[in-house]
Amino acid sequence: MRGKFYGITDIGRVRNKNEDAYIINPFTGLFAIADGLGSRKAGDFASNYALEILDLELQKTLKTERNPKIALLKAFLNTSSAVFQKTTSSLELKGAMTTLTALLLSGSKWYIAHVGDTRAYLLRGKHLYLLTEDDTKAQLMVKQKLIKPHEALNHPARNILVRALGSKPLVKPHMYEGYISKGDKFLLASDGLYSYFSFRELFDYIRKYEPKPLLEKLRDIANERGGEDNLTAVAVEITDAPLYSTLLAHFQSFTFRRLI
């Protein structure tokens, strides 16, 4: 497969430090974002550290594992324990945590490992899908059937994280996978970005723009609308993929959560 990508991170208009971060490794096919939380220096340390370790670990596990999904899972688990060890070993970093949403493209397929409330969207054909599930209190309430799925996305409890790297020695990620279709557009985004847009707007912008102008547009609008949090996004557009995986991918779309 072939494609184009771009990444952006911005401090926003209100905060005085950027706890968001992203990493892209075009050689392994890793695209990941993280949104850190914690007092003082800790938050931005946790997000940056997690991304660096994930990148390094994945380079190792991809060499030893034949299945990219297992490689991603192992690298993610190792990252979660590294973040926990690091943040609990120093007083200054105590309590630091981070979300982590990692997209791996490998052999005509995509794989996502995810913890937290950063999100992965997919635009395919005439639809926008949400590939990840938020680890928030609102989402938990959906599972307990207290609220409806569509209510969760705008519920007050959607900002309360229930899982993040650094909270436990080992945090198991949600794993998702599927085939790649030609024309697929992935968007990884932190809450500082996606909270400012309706699904319809996201859909329109993603469909209209290529990765770089898309992210610049989304960043500028989010900042115009308040920019109350750090924002980070990575956009990947697949310009070429084999016919068979494109066909299989379109069959699979039915199993994803459709927003538009």
């Binding site: 497969m1 931005d44 660096e52 990148d55 005509s108």
Partner: protein
């Protein structure tokens, strides 16, 4: 703009031009009452119209005036003379490291370690104050006749660190990989110190032969640093200092300095001693100066492309499905036939 012989701010007489940077000219001057030598940095008028550059100039004045360290040039005064912004600083009787390198080509291991230690000492102090310099390079290090090194130009220094700016500012050859993506923290400064040490030892920066900024950027982001071959210990230190990932570098200036002090050549040196640097001005003649070594706005990387090897068509799965299909179809036909003929 001819200021020679004039008096600025009512008390600083401009005597001679001693340098010029991308956006300012530096003069040697004198306090007319105290007869004390000073350096006066005057911002070029063409830049005074650009608010972001004026901002930088003001920032330098404010940041640097808060610093008090033997290896950092002191700021005495700041003002505006008929629209010309100027900064009055401690006068250092010496040359920039850039100029020394141009004359000498390269320095001895001992000299290089000594200068690096002094710069690290200044950085350890600045970093503890939460200040990141962001533009460490030989052009921003002055060496006086006794070999004392002074760090200059906190013009693009920023409190804190990471930012996610829309453009990066710096001197490309000395910039750490993450700076090209608009991020910098103390470890980015330590990377630049590594490049400077590399240059002092070999006479060139690691990717000096890159033909343009894009190739340079690409190589800084991807290529390993070619070893100096001078000493395995120093190569190991440079390897660490110039890691692509900040988390694999020295995490503080002190840690970097301690590694240097453990080298045989550094025997007898301390964290902050100065040994005279031989000045052979005029002997070798000026070497051709690098083109890109000026501080500039560096474009962030463009949209990039990637290619990932596809797995071929999953034939095995396909054959299994076809065989299964035939079996199911054959089986049901068989059952149908059996029922009909019973």
């Amino acid at each position: 703009m001819n200021l020679l012989g004039k008096t600025i701010g009512g008390k600083y007489k401009v005597l001679e031009q001693i340098g010029s940077g991308g956006m300012a000219v530096v003069y040697r001057g004198e306090h007319i009452y105290l007869k004390k030598p000073v350096a006066i940095k005057v911002m070029l008028p063409s830049f005074s119209e650009k608010p972001e550059l004026v901002q930088r100039f003001l920032q330098e004045a404010e940041m640097a005036s808060k610093l008090d360290h033997p290896n950092i040039v002191k700021i005495f005064d700041f003002g505006d003379e008929d629209g010309l912004l100027y900064l009055v600083m401690q006068y250092i009787d010496g040359d920039t490291l850039e100029k020394i390198l141009r004359y000498r080509g390269k320095l001895s291991l001992r000299e290089a370690i000594n200068i690096t230690l002094q710069v690290l000492s200044a950085l350890q102090y600045a970093h503890e104050k939460g200040l990141v310099h962001r533009d460490i390079k030989p052009g921003n290090v002055m060496i006086n006749k006794e070999g004392r090194a002074y760090l200059l130009d906190f013009g693009i220094a920023v409190l804190g660190g990471s930012g996610g700016e829309k453009t990066a500012v710096g001197t490309p050859e000395y910039m750490a990989p993450e700076q090209f993506r608009g991020r910098a923290d103390r470890r980015s400064d330590l990377y630049s110190v590594g490049v400077m040490l590399y240059e002092m030892l070999t006479g060139k920066t690691p990717f000096q032969d890159a033909k343009d900024i894009y190739e340079l950027q690409h190589r800084i982001l991807r290529d390993p640093i070619p070893p100096t071959g001078i000493d395995p210990e120093i190569d190991a230190i440079l390897d660490k200092a110039l890691s692509k990932l900040p988390s694999q570098r020295f995490q503080s200036a002190k840690e970097f300095a301690d590694a240097l002090l453990s080298i045989e050549e550094a025997k007898g040196m301390e964290y902050n001693t100065s040994i005279p640097v031989e000045n052979t001005e005029g002997k070798v003649g000026e070497k051709e100066s690098g083109m890109r070594k000026i501080t500039q706005f560096v474009p962030l990387p463009e949209e990039e492309e990637f290619e990932i090897e596809d797995k071929g068509f999953p034939w095995r799965l396909f054959i299994i499905l076809v065989v299964l299909g035939i079996l199911i179809l054959g089986g049901s036909l068989g059952i149908l036939w059996y029922i009909l003929h019973k």
